[in-house]
């Protein structure tokens, strides 16, 4: 192998590794942040992986239980709390260590220390504690998730239908005002969504669509129709006209040709468009804030609930919940792109 080839290969792998690190490293640390208990967050520097369980030691002194937590960094049992009130222990274990125990369990475990010296226990941490807390402090989170899905669904439906029709017209036909139309599609994208949302509120109230997901989708679709038209028109342009003409020569109608020839070839692009529509709707929070503040989407709910919150682990948990569906959707889309990988060539 020549030096040049080795250099090229090395650069190639360096780029790949950089991409992997740049994406996966923040993601890994972020997800693990959502699994920490409060106690772990304030241990610094802490281990990269969240603890699965805690080793504790209970002693009995001055008619009180003393709770020590094992600190593996410095290898000793740190005194955390001493009280005779079992309820305080339960709350401490839950809030600080994410350990869910009942008073009876604590009482029966701890009581041996009264006579037999220190009691050592290993308690399993509730890994999903932050997620449960998130759902309990935002009591309408499941409704908000459903709302986000519905809004995204409507947005995809509206923008893909209207947008690809317009995109096909722009790509294949000459008509008066075509250049102006291209520019005005662009113009739509240039108008900040907030700027449409503010005056749209009045119209949506008139139609009774404020605080509904369909109303939100109407505004989300404004930018996405233009985007879809724009992307699909460049894709349709990239598809050889000869193929369509051949199909017409063999007796197919223009519509049949579109359905059987053009659409399958444009499919990866359409999938990409629906991904943009989905993500646009799923990710927005400012439009939802203006038009649907009483019936929030998940993104808005998280912005409101955790926007300025200082608790790292709870914010991280909320954000993970927001990310998962978007990630699942991208994963599905990826399969569609891959099915046509290498088969798009004409």
């Amino acid at each position: 192998m020549s030096t040049k080839k080795i250099m090229a290969k090395t650069t190639f792998y360096i780029i790949i590794v950089t991409v992997l690190i740049a994406v996966l490293l923040p993601f890994f640390f972020f997800v693990s942040s959502s699994l920490y208990s409060s106690y772990e967050v304030y241990q610094f520097p802490r281990s990269f992986l969240p603890k699965m369980s805690f080793d504790i030691m209970v002693t009995w002194e001055d008619d009180m239980y003393q709770l020590h937590v094992y600190d593996d960094e410095d290898d000793f049992y740190e005194l955390m709390i001493y009280t005779s009130n079992i309820d305080d222990f339960r709350i401490f274990l839950k809030r600080e260590l994410s350990i869910q125990l009942t008073n009876e369990e604590i009482e029966s475990d701890f009581s041996a220390s009264k006579t037999g010296g220190p009691v050592y226990e290993t308690y399993k941490k509730d890994l999903l504690y932050n997620f449960k807390t998130f759902f309990s402090i935002t009591n309408n989170a499941d409704k908000a998730i459903l709302n986000s899905v519905i809004a995204a669904g409507w947005t995809i439906l509206i923008s893909l239908t209207l947008g690809s029709m317009a995109g096909y017209a722009v790509a294949r036909y000459g008509f008066a005002g075509k250049n102006k139309l291209n520019l005005s599609l662009l113009l739509v994208r240039m108008f900040p969504a907030v700027a449409i949302a503010i005056p749209m509120l009045v119209y949506l109230i008139k139609m009774g669509l404020n605080n509904t997901m369909f109303g939100l989708a109407i505004v989300y679709s404004v930018g996405n129709i233009a985007l879809t038209a724009w992307i699909t028109s460049s894709i349709f342009q990239g598809i050889n006209v000869e193929l369509e003409e051949a199909s017409v020569v063999f007796g197919a109608s223009r519509f049949q040709t579109f359905l059987k020839i053009t659409l399958p070839l444009a499919f990866p692009g359409m999938v990409a468009c629906s991904m943009y529509a989905f993500l646009g709707a799923w990710n927005d929070s400012i439009t939802a804030l203006i038009l649907s503040s009483n019936n929030p989407t998940l993104s808005l709910l998280i912005y409101k609930a955790l926007g300025m919150s200082g608790t790292i682990q709870l914010s991280a948990a909320g954000a993970v919940i927001l990310i998962i569906p978007a990630l699942v959707f991208t994963f599905i889309i990826k399969n569609y792109i891959n099915q046509l990988w290498g088969d798009v060539k004409l």
Binding site: V19, V23, L24, P26, F30, F44, R46, T161, G163, M165, A166, Y168, A169, R172, F175, L181, L186, L187, V188, R189, M190, F191, P192, V194, A195, I196, I198, P199, M200, Y203, I218, V219, V222, I225, W230, G238, P268, A272, S285, I286, I290, S299, Y303, M308, G310, S315, A316, G318, A319, V320, L322, I323, A326, L327, T330, K334, I337, N338, G342, L346
Partner: protein
């Protein structure tokens, strides 16, 4: 008869989108423009624009938005193009790599902000990592950054999340390209760099213009990451002002007018910069 139907086909295809835009875009836009030129009593007036221009943070918000747009778009385009060229190759694991590279795109801005805030807060995972590998002794106070360094911070975060969306447009363009042109270039002895520069980029031109314009438009509208990382007013942007007037002080007498006027200002700026970019890219094509 058939010819007449054919002549009308494009209009049939366009009609739904156009009607939609008449109702849900032009109507609110006109209303916004009109209302930005009226005072609180509903009389024609420039008062809103005077108030916006006189706002102490306006100048900073304007400069930040422009700087952010220019620097981030250039950075993101160069990186995305390199990545798209790489992912357009066929090699083992390319599908997995594509999926991994797409992950940041699927992360909503709210979550992106939280992701990096949990990272860059004093006891966040960035400091934790740096201390573990013994690069630093004490946690660094990242979030106290302001001015240009805070702006650069936001550009990097933005690049992390939008790079895939630029990349996927370019990749789609590359995949739809006829391989023969490239192959012809190699047959005639051109180097990889020459083929990229003289064959791939010119053919890809419409896709590139699309990708850059979409980024330019979106970059001008940044606000969420800035607000969630630094709070309102620390690193002001034009759209951040809109959010400020609709979310934080919606009850002021002129909040509605201020946000409307800001939105008109942003629209005009975006319009101008895209027009300049289009002029520039068209001139290049002629040479």
């Amino acid at each position: 008869m058939k010819r007449r139907i054919k002549k009308w086909t494009p209009y049939f295809l366009l009609a739904p989108a156009l009607i939609y835009y008449g109702f849900f875009w032009i109507r609110p836009v006109i209303r916004a423009f009109y209302e930005s030129f009226t005072n609180l009593e509903g009389k024609m007036s420039l008062i809103n624009y005077i108030e916006v221009l006189n706002e102490p943070v306006f100048k900073e918000a304007f400069t930040n938005s422009m700087l952010f747009a220019v620097v981030s778009v250039i950075l993101q385009f160069v990186l995305a193009f390199m990545l798209a060229l790489l992912l357009n190759k066929k090699f083992k694991g390319v599908k997995l790599l594509l999926f991994i590279a797409l992950i940041p795109m699927a992360v909503p801005p709210t979550a992106v902000a939280i992701l990096w805030r949990t990272g860059f807060s004093t006891y966040g995972w960035v400091n934790n990592l740096l201390m573990h590998i013994n690069l630093i002794e004490q946690p660094i106070l990242w979030m106290t950054a302001d001015g240009t360094s805070a702006l650069m911070f936001l550009i990097l975060i933005d690049t992390w999340t939008v790079l895939p969306s630029v990349m996927i447009i370019l990749l789609a363009g590359l995949q739809n390209m006829h391989k023969e042109y490239e192959e012809a270039g190699y047959v005639f002895g051109a180097s990889k760099w020459q083929v990229t520069k003289d064959i791939v980029i010119p053919i890809l031109k419409p896709t590139i213009v699309t990708a850059v314009i979409l980024r330019l438009i979106a970059a001008m509208q940044i606000w969420m990451i800035s607000v969630m990382m630094f709070g309102f007013g620390r690193v002001p942007f034009l759209v951040e002002r809109i959010a400020y007037y609709t979310d934080i002080v919606p009850m002021l007498e002129n909040s509605y007018k201020m946000s409307l006027t800001y939105s008109v200002v942003v629209t005009v700026i975006v319009l101008t910069s895209v027009t300049i970019y289009l002029k520039f890219s068209n001139r290049q094509r002629r040479i």
